[in-house]
Symmetry: C2
Subunit: 357 residues, 2 copies
């Protein structure tokens, strides 16, 4: 049962479509100082390798903006400039060829007046660059905080729609929106409300989710709950980790789990119990290692016993079911052959290869 996605408009970020019927896009953000071109490009290339489709860099000052053309020339995915307050930086980034700008026009209005907003919109229009309005719980305007008493989902959505209105007044609709909180309940509630309010494509994220382990769980719960409802057009998993490619791997794993994106094999394996008659952990690791070289999209199941094994095997493209002293191989529920535990990985690869012919 495929998830029915909410209908959104589509924007084009340097050739990568987001929203509408486009696949849900995976993006990330560099943790390097943008002015350090080599480090930034290096990180982006590693993100690309992991499957990152759009990458964002912070542009807090002129030095960062000056680095953008070189970065852009050395990478292969759309580049997004993350800018706060300063419309001139936004213009410089667009001149440098960035493919999207994240800037909140309301902030430009407050700090630099209406001419700043007009300049950003004119630049975006000229360069064909979409604008993401990115509201975070920590950046909601004081009047809205006073109105709602605290940074509530309603306050975040009202803030976002206020920024949208400024762009719409200038007849600009090339917009994406995010409303991120660092906790899951408010993130989910804010995007649910936003999705009922507007049809601009939504950029999902739980902000400052935390370290690898807890941030992965928080992102999987929050993004998972929204994606399962059909909400979200692009996702960014945000982890405090030295290896930013991990954000991309986690994002794909979330999307894969909901069958929204396919990427390599899906492995299911039983948690083992008192019925297990095989060294399942060793078997799973052997299979996982064998599958790490496989790019085909297929479902492989590794089961420890004959209780759920054969049933589960019926639903998998290939299954390895543990028994006494040997394992049984199944292809889509059909018994293939019995091999020793040690040969399971090799036999599986043979079957995958056979299936590709």
């Amino acid at each position: 049962m495929p998830i029915e996605r909410r209908k959104t408009r589509q924007v084009n970020i340097g050739g990568v479509t987001v929203g509408g019927d486009a696949p849900i896009r995976v993006q990330s953000m560099c943790s390097t100082p943008t002015g350090d071109v080599d480090a930034t490009v290096d990180q982006i290339l590693r993100l690309e390798e992991a499957g990152c489709e759009i990458v964002r860099v912070a542009v807090p000052d002129r030095e960062a903006a000056r680095a953008l053309p070189t970065i852009k020339s050395r990478i292969h995915i759309p580049l997004v400039a993350d800018i706060h307050f300063d419309y001139e930086l936004a213009l410089e980034a667009m001149m440098a060829g960035v493919d999207k700008v994240r800037i909140n026009p309301g902030n430009v209005l407050v700090k630099q007046g209406w001419k700043g907003v007009e300049a950003v919109v004119e630049g975006a229009r000229q360069h064909g660059v979409p604008i993401r309005i990115g509201v975070n719980s920590g950046s909601i305007e004081t009047p809205l905080l006073k109105k709602y008493g605290s940074p509530t989902p309603e306050a975040a959505v009202e803030s976002a729609m206020g920024h949208v209105k400024l762009l719409e007044e200038l007849d600009f609709h090339d917009i994406l929106i995010s409303v991120k909180f660092s906790d899951v309940p408010r993130t989910v509630a804010a995007y649910q409300l936003l999705s009922r309010t507007t049809d601009y494509p939504l950029h999902l994220g739980v902000t400052e989710a935390g370290t690898s382990w807890s941030g992965t769980i928080k992102s999987a719960v929050g993004l998972g709950a929204l994606l399962a409802e059909g909400i979200g057009d692009t996702v960014r998993v945000s982890l405090t980790t030295p290896d930013k490619a991990e954000e991309v791997r986690v994002a794909y794993e979330i999307l894969k789990s909901l069958e929204l994106r396919a990427r390599g094999p899906v492995l299911t394996s039983c948690p083992t119990c008192g019925r297990t008659e095989v060294d399942l952990l060793a078997l799973v690791h052997q299979v996982e290692e064998a599958l790490s070289r496989v790019k085909t999209e297929l479902h492989v199941a590794v089961m420890g016993c004959v209780v759920n094994g054969p049933g589960e095997a019926a639903g998998a493209d290939l299954a390895v079911v543990g028994g006494k002293g040997a394992v049984a191989l199944y292809r889509r529920g059909q018994f293939l052959r019995r091999v020793s535990e040690a040969e399971a990985g090799k036999a599986l690869l043979e079957e995958i290869a056979a299936g590709l012919r």
Copy 2:
């Protein structure tokens, strides 16, 4: 905004309530051979330490059943016997003092006739032991597979309700239900349908979720999507891992992320970007290490820069915000003091201690 939980009946599993207004319970299952009492008890004690509230063991044969009284006498949480087909094993487990039995009466009916079903129900009634009906995609009856063409969510729910009907015919209502699949979309759809169909408490799980990493993500997405809708009364995260306590830690982290259970501090930390002016990874690890000794429920934020830092700090009980050369401490948005990066963890612990006075 607390999640509004669906109204379910309440059952009592050896003193631990599940369903109704009871907290969502965390459970796990042993991977040891149940007959190996020392290994099983050892694993259960480690699960208890991690916060496991109900533990299940497989009882595939007489040897396993004979181990139950000793296991029961050496642990401190309710014990559940997982039994397939054999009503005599179920009776033996109940005599041994287990607090719940997982058995599908339809299977007993097919293999051992109506007298087997009656015997199980009579035993459960006598011992005050609830029965969990556990349908897995791999164990759906052939007629239902034929009717639906494959193990669909509808087939699983119809299977579960068929088992329920047998118990209700004997006026037995001390029931929990699970309908697990190894993939998230069918798991979510099945529980959504089940929750609309019945008010018996629901035991959530994605079965055979996979290895630590992908199984954690799959469980967080699937259980998270359901819990966010208010569905689920007890959860079991199922991971192929040598350390079963990990299942419990992941379960709590999922529940914590949705603010359904509290357990120790919640840490949010920013993913770092080109604006970061502090060694945030080192800072976060220092804070994480300091917090690992803290049992208080509180929200601590670690932020790398002044853009989102102060705003995020306002929502946290305590916040550490990185700046140039030093970090700033905030308590519920109020600036406390500035300390060196090296002293951040120590200063945080001092503030926590101060708050407890």
